[in-house]
């Protein structure tokens, strides 16, 4: 009986390895998510900082790599990062047309119908974006992922608790 159970267990472990979804997130540092309480700021201050942010974006071609390390100064606090992320979010919701533009390159593709011919003659699409803004949206996505993971964990604990 015990031998049968043991053999069955070994056979199942070999045939069905644990799926990826069961693994905890690893391989990356556990950077803390943005503190949502730090995002509460007075409206006039947001507007003023927002203007500065837009001005920097307006000169994005002059935004060299050397300016980006300033954002990672040892002195930056939670509130500054949260404020930057919130500004980015407001920017993405309302003013994105000022940031991205199509940057044509080259390439031709096979031609079929008239509309397809017109579209296929268009060059591949690119996006003008600074690394600074790319990192901002990446950090927003990571914060969202951590929040969702925490929410999923809470849900599972509720299910197991029933």
């Amino acid at each position: 009986m015990k031998l049968n159970v043991f053999v069955t267990t070994v056979a199942l472990l070999v045939a069905f390895p644990p799926p990826y979804e069961c693994r905890a997130i690893d391989g990356s540092s556990n950077q803390q998510a943005t503190d949502p309480d730090g995002e509460r700021q007075s409206l006039p201050l947001l507007a003023r900082l927002g203007e500065e942010y837009f001005i920097r974006l307006g000169n994005r071609n002059q935004n060299s790599a050397r300016s980006s390390p300033d954002d990672y100064s040892e002195k930056s606090q939670y509130s500054k990062r949260a404020l930057q992320l919130q500004l980015t979010q407001r920017l993405l919701e309302g003013k994105v047309g000022n940031i991205g533009r199509l940057n044509g390159n080259y390439a031709l593709r096979a031609l079929d119908s008239g509309e397809r011919e017109r579209r296929s003659e268009e060059p591949p699409i690119s996006l003008d974006l600074t690394f600074h803004l790319l990192r901002e949206v990446l950090e927003m996505a990571r914060a969202e992922q951590m929040a969702q993971q925490a929410h999923s964990n809470r849900k599972m604990m509720e299910i197991f608790g029933k």
Binding site: L13, R119, S152
Partner: protein, 321 residues
Amino acid sequence: MSGTLRAQLCFLLLSVTVLRGRARFLDIQDDEMSPEGLLSLLSSELKRDLPEEFVYRRALRCLDMVAIEGQFTFTAERPQLNCAVFFIGEPSDIISIEYDSVNIDCRGGDFIKVFNGWVMKGEKFPSTQDHPLPLYERYSDYCDTGAARPIVRSSQNVAMLFFRLHQAGSSFTITFRKLINPFPCNVVSQTPEGSFTMVIPQQHRNCSFSIIYPAEIQIGELSLGQHNDLKRSILSCANSGDFVELLGGNGMDTSKMFPIADICYSFNGPAQLKVGCDNTVVRMVSSGKFVNRVSFQYRLLGHQELQQMKGNSVEDVCLRP
């Protein structure tokens, strides 16, 4: 049914559901466990996809980054002509984008295009040298092939969606999934710090690990399956078919980045190097004759470290005034 056989059957079904990772859907009544009730655990209700209430949903923004599996909808409140969404997964993921519902006017100039990789300012990751597909095959246009091929998959852990909607009210919904990639080749790191082991199993290909931050790389182990003769002086790895190189640059395209260092012999023990560029890349070139492996850690360079490098280093091309 005897008690012993009943217990064995319960243990077998429990093991199968646990090992398949779906045990969280179990809702077994304690009073009676009939064979029919136990077999229902493996019914179609336990599908590969999560139930509807567990699917993550939100609206897309015109410029967005998505890292969570789920369903995403964009509805144009006004004409949106220049929009892009970045998708990113874990290093061992590939991206799957499925069109669920699309309400756009292709003949009117609307489009939705999926790009296999990331492209910024015309520079693509992975570069054309490192990607298995030619450039024109890396763009997938919904208006051309979306109906016939509603699911688009990437070759690495990043993908992009470009779209243009002229009419207010136009919308589309996509489902973003992450699939397992057992041998990740080209990777963009989600974090400025972490660790990774890249393995190229006897494939003639080049693989890059991109960290879009200035970073310090610490290579812990490098295994290149060629004969290692340390007595032979190696002035350059250019003639070697298998080597690892560290690149730094301010763009996405690894072929346009500056080589910081290259290593073409196996070694153990940490080797550290700081790269003060917007993009730090560990790239492995493999001839396909051997199984090559490199393990490394990376961390973000702080502002003071960058200032110090700027003052002292003459070789860091990205920090030169």
